[in-house]
């Protein structure tokens, strides 16, 4: 029998309040037209409530926060990325078709209509603008009364540039309480020309006026008109622009594209580009090879250094092993981004300490960041420095588990340390070590931070359209395509991401299989 805790009576009111808050949020999202996001949020909240109030789902009460976190911040971005990979999403095709059309329909340009004359009046610290249809000659009395009806005034304006966007609604002068004082002289108007040109004034009949000269405001007319079939007509010339679902632009008859573009699905287009476009394929394969080489060599070098050290530090005749171990563990304890940046400075060609030493000893100053081969060498040196303590720690643990009578027996047989290592130690640790080495490979395959902070992928290839560097690995290349390249091609970056993900997933599936095979006989 569970003891009744205090605060139990609070459970239902709190739950109800939470439910109302959640529904309110969902409704708000839905109200702004984001139906997909709203459904997603609703499902998430519903699952949450089901898990915590239905008895069937009891174990999931423990799981829900963790699984929800993973679903939102790992699984969903992954699926979303895969979906983006099938679209032309980029900085040129950023909006949805609806929004792109709406953007075009909002465009206004000075039209043919009769201009309005305006005068600027000071009122307190603000200003008012009065507009009236422009007259060429002095109006007679009847006309003046007619004119009075068509004279409009703005509310007081601050006239400070830059103005917040938005349309200012004007009221008929006759209806307001403002008594026009003397208009400001031309010099004052000229002083405020810049902010006046930012204004958009809306008349009660819907016409929008904008600054057209020091004495007049012109009528603004929409540039585009929407047709029933979804195409747009350019009002000035009567040309029709049709939405092109392949390119994601509104296009004229001749194929001329109108900015901004919108996001459309392009099927396997990004993948086809990876394989077919020679300008793209070249660097892509070079980068792929370097990525594999970088990850493979890193694992190899860290394994050699780490394993050697582990063997040495397990040698019980060696005094001072704890000191050695702590000192050799240091690279692992320093935060990675700091040591990478430290190396970036130390390797600097002109001011770096490494070149100062090399210069003093051999009289050379290698260009670590300008020469592709040297840059790659430097990356491998730095990554070995960063990575060997991890392998050392792993190997130490594994070597400790080897029964010492094996070495006893080999010593009696007169075997040296090398024989010991290759006949006893290596065969015994290689099996449990393999899955860990594969994870290490997969980690380095995606070691974005190292490349990004050390070289940023540079030096670049000279002859590519999409910027690509000789030290770029696939992830840093993808990052550049998505965030650095002038095109910001999210679609292409997402397609490459998907490929990388499947490569890594294959690798780790093989790894799981391997680990399982080894774990089973041990049980």
């Amino acid at each position: 029998m569970a003891p009744k805790r205090k605060g139990h009576w609070l459970k239902w009111p709190v739950a109800a309040a939470t439910a109302v808050a959640c529904l309110w949020l969902v409704f708000n999202i839905y109200a702004t037209g984001q139906a997909v996001w709203a459904v997603g949020a609703l499902v998430l909240f519903a699952v949450g409530f089901f898990v915590y109030f239905a008895n069937v789902a009891f174990p999931y009460r423990y799981l829900f926060p963790g699984l929800a976190g993973m679903a939102i911040f790992v699984l969903f971005p992954m699926l979303f990325t895969m979906q983006i990979g099938f679209t032309n999403y980029s900085s040129a095709n950023l909006l949805t078709q609806e929004r792109a059309a709406a953007y075009l329909l909002e465009q206004m340009a000075p039209g043919e209509g009769e201009p309005y004359a305006f005068t600027l009046h000071a009122e307190g610290t603000g200003y008012r603008i009065i507009v009236a249809p422009k007259q060429d000659e002095e109006p007679d009395a009847a006309k003046a009364a007619e004119l009075q009806k068509q004279t409009f005034v703005t509310p007081p304006l601050a006239l400070i540039s830059p103005r917040p966007p938005g349309v200012i609604v004007m009221l008929p002068l006759a209806e307001g309480s403002f008594q026009p004082n003397d208009p400001l002289p031309l010099a004052e108007v000229l002083k405020r020309r810049k902010v006046l040109s930012e204004l958009q004034l809306k008349l009660p009949d819907g016409k929008v006026l904008s600054y057209a000269g020091v004495r007049e405001f012109g009528v603004l007319e929409p540039v585009w008109k929407r047709n029933d079939d979804g195409s747009l007509t350019l009002l000035k010339t009567g040309q029709v622009a049709k939405p092109n679902p392949q390119s994601g632009f509104f296009e004229f008859e001749g194929g001329e594209k109108i900015q901004p573009g919108y996001k459309v699905g392009i099927g396997w287009g990004n993948y086809a580009r990876m394989v077919n476009d020679p300008e793209f394929r070249g660097p892509f394969f070079t980068i792929f090879l370097w990525t594999v080489g970088f990850a493979g060599l890193t694992v190899l070098f860290t394994l050699i250094v780490g394993c050697t050290l582990a063997v040495l530090l397990n040698w019980e005749a060696l005094p001072g092993r704890t000191v050695y171990r702590t000192l050799l563990f240091l690279p692992y304890a320093v935060p990675g981004f700091i040591s990478i940046l430290v190396f970036k400075g130390l390797f600097n060609q002109n001011f770096g300490e490494i070149n100062a030493i090399l210069d003093a000893l051999f009289g050379i100053r290698p260009a670590w960041f300008a020469d592709p081969f040297l840059a790659k060498t430097m990356i491998l040196i730095v990554n070995t420095w960063l990575g060997y303590p991890y392998i050392m720690v792993l190997c130490t643990g594994l070597i400790k588990a080897i029964p010492s009578d094996l070495y006893e027996a080999s010593a009696i047989a007169g075997a040296g340390p090398l024989t010991n290592f290759f006949r006893i130690t290596a065969p015994l640790i290689i099996k449990p070590l393999t899955p860990l080495l594969i994870s290490s490979f997969a980690f380095n395959f995606n070691n974005f931070v190292l490349i990004w902070l050390l070289t940023g992928g540079r030096p670049d290839f000279l002859n590519t359209r999409v910027p690509a560097g000789t030290t770029d690995i696939l992830v840093s290349y993808t990052y550049r395509i998505a965030f650095q390249d002038s095109g910001q091609n999210f679609g292409l970056a997402a397609a490459i991401s998907t490929v990388i993900f499947f490569l890594v997933a294959l690798l780790s599936m093989a790894n799981l299989r391997l680990a399982k095979v080894q774990a089973d006989p041990a049980k």
Partner: protein
């Protein structure tokens, strides 16, 4: 321990010591160099490695104080390093705490409760964890932009948003903790249940106190993971006073504005506490590492 030793033992020992010291020299060189550089006057001087003249100008800047340069002008700190350090520590500590809370409960379900899709969820978690965050950045940015337009407190440019984003990375930690729970005999909890404890009480008052060592490991690993995380933080945080240390530090070493000495002091100042935490927790971390976590 082998009792039979070879004849060349002495020479081998000497060789081993020499080799180890050579390696240690290579390992420690960058760390000592950066300390010496932080004490050297000026940002460009390539003087000797042991500074002939000690100057605290870079340290003053790193600590947020301005100093009087030789020509009389007042030099202001280029970046708010202490602020960045505080941001980093705050974000990492909160996210590590939440990660521990989330993953202990989830690991409990995986280790002790029976439910459908258990092994399926466990294995797909491992695969999911292989998807590096840097590949999903566009999507992550889109998510936080959308969330932020409804709940501004967890949108772009907020630390809460970043903490939330880090909560996605619990898979490895759940695996680690589950492995530890498996080594604790289930009978103890069953006894508690016989005495009338609920599932939650058995977990909270019986299992959890026994799992404290692994919780410390996971906390430290998650904390360090939060400190060194770069890609997500670089996309979600842009304003200078908002940055974490991992994102901010790189601004010291721009080609156009190369602040080598200032960077050195900032790096030592901010790297030292984290290094010390890591060294202090080394004993526990090493056991956690062999369970499969890789640090970057």
């Amino acid at each position: 321990m082998p009792m039979v030793t070879g004849r060349n033992e002495r020479w081998r020992l000497l060789a081993a010591h020499a080799f180890l010291w050579a390696l240690i020299a290579l390992t420690v060189f960058p760390l000592l160099a950066i300390i010496s550089i932080s004490l050297r006057p000026g940002n460009f001087a390539t003087g000797s490695l042991i500074p002939e003249q000690i100057s605290f100008e870079h340290w003053k800047l790193a600590l947020g104080m301005s100093y009087q340069a030789a020509d009389g002008s007042l030099v202001q700190p280029p970046f708010p390093v202490l602020r960045w350090l505080w941001n980093s520590v705050k974000i990492a500590a909160i996210s590590a705490f939440l990660i521990v809370a989330i993953s202990t409960t989830a690991a409990y379900a995986f280790a002790r409760l029976k439910f459908r899709f258990k092994s399926g969820i466990l294995n797909s978690m491992l695969l999911l964890q292989m998807f590096p965050a840097v590949l999903g950045l566009v999507a992550i940015y889109a998510i936080f932009e959308t969330i932020g337009s409804y709940v501004p407190a967890i949108g772009i440019e907020t630390h809460t948003g970043l903490v939330l984003a880090y909560l996605g990375g619990v898979a490895t930690h759940i695996w680690t903790i589950r492995g530890y729970y498996d080594t604790i005999p289930v009978e103890i909890e069953e006894c508690a249940k016989v005495d009338g404890a609920t599932h939650w009480q058995a977990f909270r008052y019986v299992l959890l106190p026994m799992a404290v060592p692994i919780l410390v490991v996971v906390f430290v690993l998650a904390f360090v993971g939060g400190i060194i995380e770069y890609p997500i933080a670089s996309v979600l945080l842009r304003q200078e006073h908002n940055l974490t240390l991992a994102v901010g530090s790189q601004y010291y070493l721009y080609q156009q504005k190369y602040l080598w000495g200032d960077f050195a002091a900032a790096a030592v100042l901010s790297g030292l506490p984290i290094t010390l935490v890591f060294l202090a927790a080394q004993r526990w971390i090493v056991s956690g590492l062999t369970a499969g976590g890789v640090k970057g």
